[in-house]
């Protein structure tokens, strides 16, 4: 069946508060399936908050605006009405900047549960998991592609992982869950140059034409194999400028001075947010 409508993740005028402090002040963003977008911006500008809001973190309260998926049949699905796990089953994914450790739970067992739920969104707890044999084969193949040792699957989820191992584990989960839309929050941090290159290649291969990806990064290298259709710059809780890959290169080289000078209102918001954060810290 050919789809009449390209599948899209659409974020409109999104306002998000954490403990009653507004972090996002009206974000608009549209990502089509198969597109790569880069999201850059200084620390504290709200990039991670956007990722959490998309995934439905309970501490991030959406005060107004919408997040929707446009389905192939043209129907719009309200993401904000869903629990985080329902969002994952609807095809959303967040690669965490700081993944959580779950001691005692093996990567393989965790992923088998995750894969079973995401591939069969109607699955209820206690119902059959994906068959072990099939799962084992698939996991081993994906790990080989990512040049990960099979031993990794036996370790406890993120427990005692180095920064680099955590990021690779996030990419492995991305590969296994094959979402429609993924936010990768600084998946390059903690990786050395070779590992970033491998990550960049892997993400390109995993994503292909089927995944809409929002890459949050401070660096250019992750984008090497994932040339962004658009680069967005976030400042003071808003996307203030969007451009092509050349914008990412510029920001990487020159920093955010030009952006701050061009958008004094957002720069003022950035300062106010930083002061507020310092006061409540």
């Amino acid at each position: 069946m050919t789809s009449q409508h390209p599948e899209k993740l659409i974020i409109q005028d999104l306002h998000v508060a954490v403990e009653e402090r507004e972090i996002l002040k009206g974000v608009n963003l549209e990502i089509g399936r198969g597109e790569v977008h880069a999201l850059m911006g200084p620390n504290g500008s709200g990039k991670s908050t956007l990722g959490y809001a998309i995934m439905g973190h309970p501490s991030y309260e959406v005060t107004s605006g919408s997040i929707e998926i446009v389905e192939a049949d043209g129907n719009r699905r309200d993401i904000l009405a869903m629990e985080p796990d329902e969002r994952a089953r609807a095809g959303l994914f967040l690669a965490f900047q700081r993944p959580m450790a779950i001691p005692g739970v093996r990567v393989a067992d965790f992923l088998r549960h995750a894969v079973s739920n995401v591939r069969n969104p109607e699955r209820k707890e206690g119902q059959e998991l994906v068959p072990m044999k099939e799962f084992r084969g698939e996991l081993k193949a994906k790990m080989a592609e990512l040049q990960m040792d099979t031993d990794f699957a036996r370790r406890y989820v993120n427990d005692g992982f180095s920064g680099g191992e955590m990021k690779r584990a996030e990419i492995l989960q991305l590969a296994m869950l094959a979402p429609r839309f993924a936010v990768l929050d600084e998946t390059d941090s903690g990786l050395d140059a070779d590992a970033v290159r491998l990550a960049s290649e892997s993400i390109a291969r995993i994503g292909g034409a089927d995944m809409g990806i929002l890459i949050i990064t401070h660096h250019e290298q992750l984008l090497e194999h994932n040339i962004p259709l658009k680069t967005h710059v976030m400042l003071g809780g808003r996307i203030v400028e969007s451009g092509g890959p050349e914008l990412a290169a510029e920001l990487h080289k020159r920093g955010y001075e030009r952006i701050r000078a061009s958008y004094p209102e957002a720069a003022a918001a950035e300062e106010a947010m930083a002061a507020e954060a310092a006061a409540t810290a």
């Binding site: 629990e83 965490f96 450790a101 779950i102 739970v105 965790f110 995750a114 707890e125």
Partner: protein
Amino acid sequence: MSVSAPTTAFDVATLDRMLADAAFPEWERERRRQAFDLLNGLSLPDRRDENWMRTDLRAFKPSAWKLGGVAAGSHEIPSGLLEAAIQSAGGGAEAFDESLRETRCSRLAGRIVSIDGVVQTEELDEALRQQGVVFGSPERVLAEHGDLVRDLWFGVIESGCDWFAAAHAAFAQAGCVLIVPAGVKIADPLHLLSAISPGGVDFGHVLVVLGDDAEATVLTETAGGGPAGTAGGFHCGGTEIVVGKRAFLRMVNLQNWNTGVWHVARQKARVDADGNLQWTLGALGSRLSQVAQDVALAGRRAHAQVNGVMFTEGRQQLVYNTLQHHEAPDCRSDLLYKGGLQDRSRLVWRGMIKVDQVAQKTDGYQRNDVLMLSEQARADSIPGLEIEADDVRCTHGATSGRVDAEQIFYAQARGLTADEAARLVVAGFFQQVFDRITIPSVREALAGAIGQRIRRIG
């Protein structure tokens, strides 16, 4: 066996009736009379006693209980969790590692079932019987093999240390005795189910004796009684374990009473030179538990691994006093207790490693980890060391944690529901101790039962 009419309390008439009914040897009758005399001189422990200061016995009334059993067959016997797991073994969770596939036992070498202190079933493999293995109810074993057990029956645990110990020593009923002759290795587990009816009483006594070089696996479990808010039930038990030289015993005791049952138990193991004991306590049930679990490393190079898996909820209150007593040189003891607490429940662990002057090169370890699933639950971990030797390595540790909302969100972001995520986090918490339980069906029975109890974490 005839069944006595229920009588009240722990009086001399009850004792006389018990002695008249059973075919005990004379030494056993004398032992019980002495224990009864001890009992008469004791009152219930109070909070001035260090072992009992965290145990709330105010609502416990000895006069509320009737010894002597119900009429057999008048109550359905509740099923045992471990027994069910063994019988359904074969399926189970698949491991990611094909190499980790374990041989699973799906049969029992022997089984004993009692309800309210009345034995209903006694079975033992004929082949084992011919090898000299004795497994049966104490009433039968003491009558038929009295001389074999005379020195060990109530020779390991103390009878006079408190009211409950003395009451148990005088009125012990049902339970089991296992004697494995030197060199005999039993592959399949032996199983004891001690059940009670709602409001019922169990005074079961367990004696396990492994001769030199013997091997066995013993699973004991409890079930039944009434829920919290009813008469519940009363268990006053004792367990004695003797592991001979180079012998290996895997012992599992699961306390799975209904939530209205009072559970008081005194358990002690003695491990001889080069002997090896792997002893796992599981506790899910009871209204109040007070358990003394002692291990004596009595011969050189003896080894004991002690595992505890506790999950409490509602207003349950479980108190454990453990002792790892190093009486000989070069011994190792390693205790790991893990507890999960829900609702307003309370869990107390007080552990002691005691090292005698002769016990040089002792390697002793004790650790207690608790996971709090509610703000109202309370756990106390009180490790202790008492060391008289000068060349030892004794360490202890304790941790207390909560299920982290960020862990739940992380798992939810991967498609697990909040409930699934909570169960996974709790299962992970217990994994370290499950890894040490080498009997897959026991591990799965415990994990499954704990999983069922976990509600959404708030």
